[in-house]
C-alpha cells in the first residue's frame, strides 16, 4: 500500500492565474518524512502541505494519478519544475485539496481518511467525561476546561461517537458565537474516517429541517451548527424545528462556552432548544 502527498510553495500558488502548482508524489514511508527530504530552489519559501492520503488500496503508484492529470492537460512543464508538478485548477489551497481528494476518491471508490488516534491526555479526558455521564442522570452537564491546543474539536467529535455508541444519541448541537469554531469542526469532520457518517446541517438553509430529517432517516448522524445571536423571539421561530427533536437525541457541545453561551439571552436560547 502506498501513501500519496501533495504540497506546494507560496510562489507556486501565485504563479498562474486560476491554477495552483502542486507537487504530487508517493512514499511507502510517512509522508511528512518524505516531504521533508524534498525541495529545490523554492525551498527557502517553505512548503505548504496540501494533504496526505494514506494506505491507498487501488492506486498502486503516484503514476496512476499523474496519468489522469496528464490526460486532463494539467502536467506543468516549465524550466526548473520536475516531472511531478501539475497545475491544479483551484483558486485556493482548500480547492486544490478538494480537487486531488476527488481524484483519489474516483480511484478508491470512497474518501480516503485516517482513523483518529487520540493522544493519551485526550483519551484520559474522554474517559473522565464518560465516567461522569455514566454516573449521571438523564440530563448530564459537564464542564470541560481544556487548555488551548488540547484538540477540543476532535475530542468533542470522539465523545459524540462514544455517546452515540452507548446511548444512541444522533444529534450534536454546536452552539457558538465564534465562527472559526465552526470552521474547525467542518475541517475535522472532513479529515477523519471516524466521522464519515455525520452530516453537517446549516440552520440558515431554508430546508434545514428537511435535510436533517432525511439524513437521520438515512442512518446518518447530524451536527447542527448554530449561532446564538439575535432577538430571542425571532430566533426561536426560526429554530423551532430543532426544539421538536427529542431531548434524548442531543449531545450539545458549547465550544468557547465562556465566550458564547453564558449570557441570559444565550442561556434562554439553549433552554428553548433543549426544552
Amino acid at each position: 500500500m502506498i501513501n500519496v502527498y501533495a504540497y506546494t510553495y507560496p510562489g507556486a500558488v501565485s504563479e498562474l492565474e486560476d491554477f495552483i502548482l502542486v507537487k504530487l508524489g508517493d512514499s511507502h514511508r510517512a509522508v511528512d518524512t518524505r516531504m521533508g527530504e524534498q525541495g529545490g530552489a523554492a525551498e527557502w519559501q517553505g512548503k505548504i502541505k496540501i494533504g496526505a492520503w494514506n494506505n491507498l488500496q487501488t492506486v498502486k503508484r503516484d503514476h496512476d494519478l499523474h496519468k489522469v492529470l496528464e490526460l486532463r492537460g494539467l502536467r506543468y512543464k516549465d524550466g526548473g519544475a520536475g516531472t511531478e508538478w501539475f497545475k491544479v485548477p483551484a483558486a485556493s489551497i482548500v480547492e486544490a485539496h478538494a480537487y486531488i481528494d476527488q481524484l483519489i476518491e474516483d480511484f478508491e471508490g470512497e474518501k480516503v481518511r485516517d482513523s483518529v488516534v487520540l493522544r493519551p491526555l485526550q483519551q484520559k479526558a474522554l474517559d473522565q467525561a464518560m465516567a461522569v455521564i455514566r454516573s449521571g442522570e438523564a440530563d448530564t452537564s459537564l464542564i470541560a476546561n481544556l487548555c488551548p491546543r488540547f484538540g477540543k474539536t476532535i475530542w468533542a467529535l470522539s465523545l459524540f461517537n462514544k455517546i452515540s455508541e452507548e446511548y444512541g444519541n444522533r444529534v450534536m448541537l454546536l452552539p457558538s458565537y465564534w465562527l472559526s469554531v465552526h470552521t474547525s469542526f467542518v475541517d475535522t469532520l472532513n479529515d477523519w474516517k471516524d466521522f464519515n457518517d455525520i452530516a453537517l446541517i446549516d440552520p440558515n438553509d431554508p430546508d434545514a429541517a428537511l435535510v436533517a430529517a432525511n439524513a437521520l432517516d438515512n442512518g446518518q448522524r447530524i451536527i447542527i451548527q448554530i449561532s446564538l445571536h439575535g432577538d430571542l423571539a425571532e430566533w426561536s421561530k426560526k429554530h423551532n424545528w430543532i426544539s421538536e427533536i427529542d431531548n434524548d437525541e442531543f449531545f450539545m457541545f458549547a465550544d468557547e462556552g465562556d465566550f458564547g453561551t453564558h449570557t441570559e439571552n444565550q442561556v434562554a436560547k439553549v433552554d428553548f432548544l433543549l426544552n
Partner: protein
C-alpha cells in the same frame, strides 16, 4: 440521554454560569500536554521596557508614561518609544538586549505576534509607524478594520506567504482581541505581551497563539513557542505569573494532587526566565516560584485583576462593590460616581446621562478598590469561619451563622451572601483566593 458539555480553555466560572448545573468537570492543562510530548513547548520570559523608557526619555528630554495603555493611546506622541521598541524587538539595536527577541530566546524569531491594548485606530497608527521604521518586515494588523474573525487566519497566512515571496525579513502581527482564540498560524513563534494587567483568561488565550505546531517562517519545524512579558516595572511580571498560577490550579484539579506537587509538575515542564542585567536572563526555579506562590502578598497582587467596569455594571454587581468598605475613600466622591454609573455604558438608553471620563475613572477606582479589599478578605476568612478548604467554602460557612455574617459585614461592608454572588459572577479571582486561603491555613497551623 441528554448530554451538555460546556468547553473552553479558560474561565471555568463563566462556563458554569451558562450550564445551570454541573455534574462534573474535566481538566487538562498545557503542561500536561508538554509532559506527554509531541507539542510545541513553551518558554516564558519576564523582561521589561523600563531601560528602553529611560533611554528614550533621555533622548527626548520628556517623560514616557509607564503604562502600555498610555503608550498605545497616543502613538504619535510616543512615536520614538514605539519605533525604538520594535527596532529592539527585531534585534536591530544591540544596546537593548532585554527586548531583543532572538537574543533572549537564542533562536531567530522572524514571525511574532505583539498583543497590545490599542483600539483599531491606534493599531493602524502603530502599523504605519512600524512599517516605516522596519521596511524589511511585513507588518499586519488584526482588527475589524482589516479583516474578520472568520477571515483572520486566512488573511495572515496569505500575507505571510506574500512576505516570503517579497523576501521580507519576517512578519509582525499586531493584535488586541481578534486572533486571541481559534487562530492558528504555525509561523508565529512568539507572543509579546505589551498590555498592562488584564484578565488571566484572555491572557492565556492570547499567549497560546505561538503554540500552533508546524513550520516556522524559515520553513523549519517549530519546537518552542515563546511568551514574553514586557513590564514597565522590572520587578513585576504578573501576566506570566498569573498564567502559570492558573495552570498550577488546573493541574492540581486534573491530577487531584496537592498544590506543591502541582507547582513541581508545571515547573518540570515549563521553562521561565527573568531578565537580570547586562543582557543576561536567569532561569526561574521551582524554589523561586514557591516563593512567589507561597506568599499571600504576591498572590493578592496577582488576584487584583482590573475588572471590566461596564461589564460589572451590566451584570448588576456594581452596587455590591460600591458597598465594600475600603479605607480612605470620600463618601461624597463615591456617591457622585454611583450616580454617574447610569451613564457609564456607551449607547445607554435615551435620556441617560453620559458619564464623563472623570466619572468613569471614579467608577473604575471604586470597583478596583472593592475587589482589592475583598481579595484581602481571603487572608482572614478561614480564621473567621474556622472551617473550609476554599474561599467559597469559608464564605459559605460565614453566611451560615448570623454572628459570623455580621462580623464579616462589619469588616467588609457587604454580606457574605453578596460575596457568593460576586463569585458566581466571576468578578473575583476565585482560584487564586483559594490558594490564599490554603496559605493562610498553613500559617495558622505553624502556630498551633
Amino acid at each position: 440521554m441528554l448530554v451538555k458539555v460546556y468547553a473552553s480553555g479558560t474561565n471555568v466560572q463563566r462556563l458554569a454560569k451558562g450550564a445551570h448545573k454541573v455534574d462534573g468537570v474535566v481538566y487538562a492543562s498545557y503542561s500536561q500536554l508538554e509532559a506527554a510530548g509531541g507539542v510545541v513547548k513553551r518558554k516564558f520570559f519576564a523582561s521589561n521596557v523600563s531601560e528602553l523608557k529611560t533611554a528614550v526619555e533621555a533622548e527626548l528630554d520628556e517623560q514616557i508614561q509607564p503604562s502600555w495603555n498610555k503608550v498605545w493611546a497616543k502613538p504619535d506622541r510616543n512615536r520614538v518609544f514605539i519605533e525604538s521598541l520594535f527596532i529592539g524587538l527585531v534585534g536591530d539595536n544591540e544596546m537593548r538586549p532585554e527586548i531583543n527577541l532572538s537574543a533572549m530566546t537564542e533562536e531567530m524569531i522572524d514571525c511574532f505576534m505583539i498583543n497590545v491594548s490599542a483600539n483599531n485606530k491606534e493599531m493602524s497608527k502603530v502599523k504605519e509607524i512600524v512599517s516605516k521604521v522596519l521596511p524589511q518586515w511585513h507588518v499586519t494588523v488584526l482588527n475589524g478594520d482589516y479583516t474578520s474573525n472568520k477571515q483572520a487566519e486566512f488573511q495572515v497566512t496569505k500575507e505571510t506567504n506574500q512576505a516570503k515571496i517579497a523576501d521580507k525579513k519576517g512578519v509582525i502581527v499586531i493584535a488586541n482581541q481578534m486572533g486571541s482564540r481559534s487562530f492558528s498560524i504555525p509561523a508565529i513563534q512568539a507572543n509579546v505581551i505589551a498590555f498592562d494587567r488584564g484578565s488571566v483568561d484572555a491572557t492565556t488565550q492570547k499567549v497560546s497563539r505561538c503554540l500552533t505546531p508546524g513550520l516556522k517562517y524559515n520553513g523549519e519545524e517549530k519546537d518552542y513557542g515563546y511568551i514574553i512579558d514586557f513590564s514597565f516595572d522590572p520587578n513585576r511580571s504578573e501576566n506570566i505569573e498569573e498564567v502559570l498560577l492558573q495552570e498550577v490550579i488546573q493541574v492540581q484539579k486534573s491530577n487531584e494532587s496537592n498544590f506543591a506537587d502541582a507547582v513541581r509538575f508545571v515547573f518540570n515542564n515549563v521553562n521561565m526566565f527573568r531578565y537580570a542585567k547586562y543582557g543576561e536572563f536567569t532561569q526561574v526555579t521551582e524554589t523561586d516560584m514557591f516563593a512567589i506562590l507561597g506568599d499571600n502578598e504576591n498572590l493578592l497582587r496577582v488576584a487584583d485583576v482590573t475588572v471590566d467596569a461596564a461589564a460589572a455594571i451590566e451584570s448588576g454587581v456594581f452596587d455590591i462593590l460600591a458597598s465594600v468598605t475600603s479605607a480612605g475613600k470620600s463618601d461624597k466622591k463615591k456617591k457622585e460616581a454611583i450616580n454617574a454609573k447610569t451613564g457609564f455604558k456607551e449607547g445607554g438608553t435615551k435620556g441617560d446621562k453620559t458619564a464623563t471620563d472623570k466619572d468613569k475613572r471614579s467608577i473604575e477606582k471604586i470597583i478596583n478598590e472593592a475587589i482589592r479589599s475583598l481579595n484581602m478578605s481571603a487572608t482572614s476568612v478561614y480564621d473567621l469561619a474556622n472551617e473550609g478548604d476554599s474561599y467559597r467554602e469559608c464564605i459559605e460557612a460565614i453566611a451560615e451563622y448570623e454572628d459570623l455574617g455580621d462580623e464579616f459585614e462589619a469588616l467588609f461592608g457587604v454580606q457574605a451572601e453578596q460575596v457568593l454572588h460576586l463569585l458566581d459572577e466571576a468578578v473575583l479571582n476565585e482560584p487564586v483566593l483559594d490558594v490564599v486561603v490554603q496559605n493562610s491555613k498553613v500559617v495558622d497551623s505553624a502556630f498551633v
